[in-house]
Amino acid sequence: MERIYLDYNATTPVRAEVRDAVLPFLNDLFGNPSSRHLEGRQVKTKIEAARAQVATAIGAEPERIVFNAGATEGNVTILRGYQVNYKEKKGRDHIIISAVEHPCIYDTAKKMAGEGYAVTFVPVDGEGNIDLDGLKKAITERTGLISVMAVNNETGVIYPVKEIAKIAREKGILFHTDAAQAIGKMPFDVKDIDADFVTMSAHKFYAPKGIGALYIKKGKRLDPLLTGGHQEANRRAGTENVVGMIAMGRALELATGELATDRERIGKIRDEFERRILAEVPHSRRNGGADNRLYTTSNISFRFVEGEAVQLKLDHFGIAVSTGSACSSGTLDPSHVVMAMCNGDEETAHSSIRFSFGKYSKMEEIGYVVDRVKEVVAQLRSFSPLYDKFLSSQGK
């Protein structure tokens, strides 16, 4: 059976053009870019070209791009680097993040809170939008860093990073955005936003896993997590992931050229899917506002059923999705993102399913997916004690 992959926010397949671009580096072009001989220099030239591709895509100068192993490294580098580079110097031991950040920010910030930092988690409303007034009010003289993601990975909600960067700048506060879900999928210009630091992850835009980059604004200092060699202009030690860099550059160049067509085509599929699901599956609700959401993502809670069970059944029917349910997380904690959006209502998080669409999604698949979702949810409800209770409360 042909699989229907609807988990593009988790990762994407490597596209053929990207595979072709890296093949030479798995063959003859094996040199170490730090070496002065021809083998090394040849590769060095190519990774610098890849750096330029990444820079161009986000409106930056190539020297502002530091390649790394992906968004987790980027995000942790920012938070930990901030501890090292800025706090001691200015006594600014307060950081602000949103309540819906990716775990690599969220959990690292929580750890920092345990290490004597003050951390404010700014809440979001029922539609997932950030409370900007709350954010402004949270700022104190000690605030040194604000980090808010550009697009939420679970709901696709888009955050007003330009506005937040402005608020931060006016108070002399550094601003970082985790743009792992945004870059390659929507226009993104670091100069226009005026961010100090931006995190990118290549496997979200059809390059392999294990490669990402940080944008570091001119004049901003950030100590590397990994120290040692002089790679990446002393900003990240370790022999370069050459294949990753080449892939990331090519993939982002391609993605940037396709932003408008993707938005149009994938957005139509997502919208049609969501319209049908909400209309045809009773007691389903969308997590995240109708507008102000990236066109790739649809996060739906199906009341009275548990998300892992839905996911498992859909998988059996050839459909790959993900869930925010506690039962499927390694820690048995429900998604803090969905929880933040529904006033801590665990059941909504428990029953949430994320469908995320991408380049290889097809409109023709939607009918099959909607039918299977209907079937699976109805079957699980048929023996759900919560549904039974609900029916009796309705006098049925």
């Binding site: 069970a309 498992l312 059944k313 048995l332 428990h350 023996f383 004690p385 039974d388």
Partner: protein, 127 residues
């Protein structure tokens, strides 16, 4: 660790689902670790479990464990049901991922609670 074939079979085709009208014993337990719920309905004749059905809001393991538990005690005596442990159920299913072991508590707890209440109400000694 993935779910075994047997877990998947019980999950995809759960046995004894639903409720029993006029059940002789009912128990509902909630799972503190993840917020899930299992409800068991028993029809009892003398000291034998004549029929048993369940409703579960929970993960694949919770559903499979519920189904397996009902299969293992249907037709058994109340005391035999009390002797059934979560480990026996998990073993019968070919094992569960470690993080899912708590789900197997739920079904055994619901069963035991229903049986104990019934025995108490009917003056049947547990041993």
């Amino acid at each position: 660790m993935d779910y075994t074939e047997k877990v998947m079979d019980h999950f995809m085709n759960p046995r004894n689902v639903g409720k029993i009208e006029n059940a002789d014993a009912i128990a509902e337990v909630g799972n503190a670790s993840c917020g899930d719920v299992i409800k068991m309905y028993l029809k009892i004749q003398g000291e034998t479990i004549e029929d048993i059905k369940f409703q579960t809001f929970g993960c694949g393991a919770a559903i499979a464990v519920s189904s397996q538990t009902t299969e293992m005690v249907k037709g058994k005596t109340l005391r035999e049901a009390l002797d059934l442990t979560r480990d026996q159920v998990a073993e019968e299913l070919g094992g569960l991922p470690p993080i899912k072991m708590h789900c197997s508590n739920l079904a055994a707890d619901a069963l035991h609670q229903a049986v104990k209440t019934y025995m108490k109400d009917h003056g049947i000694a547990e041993r």
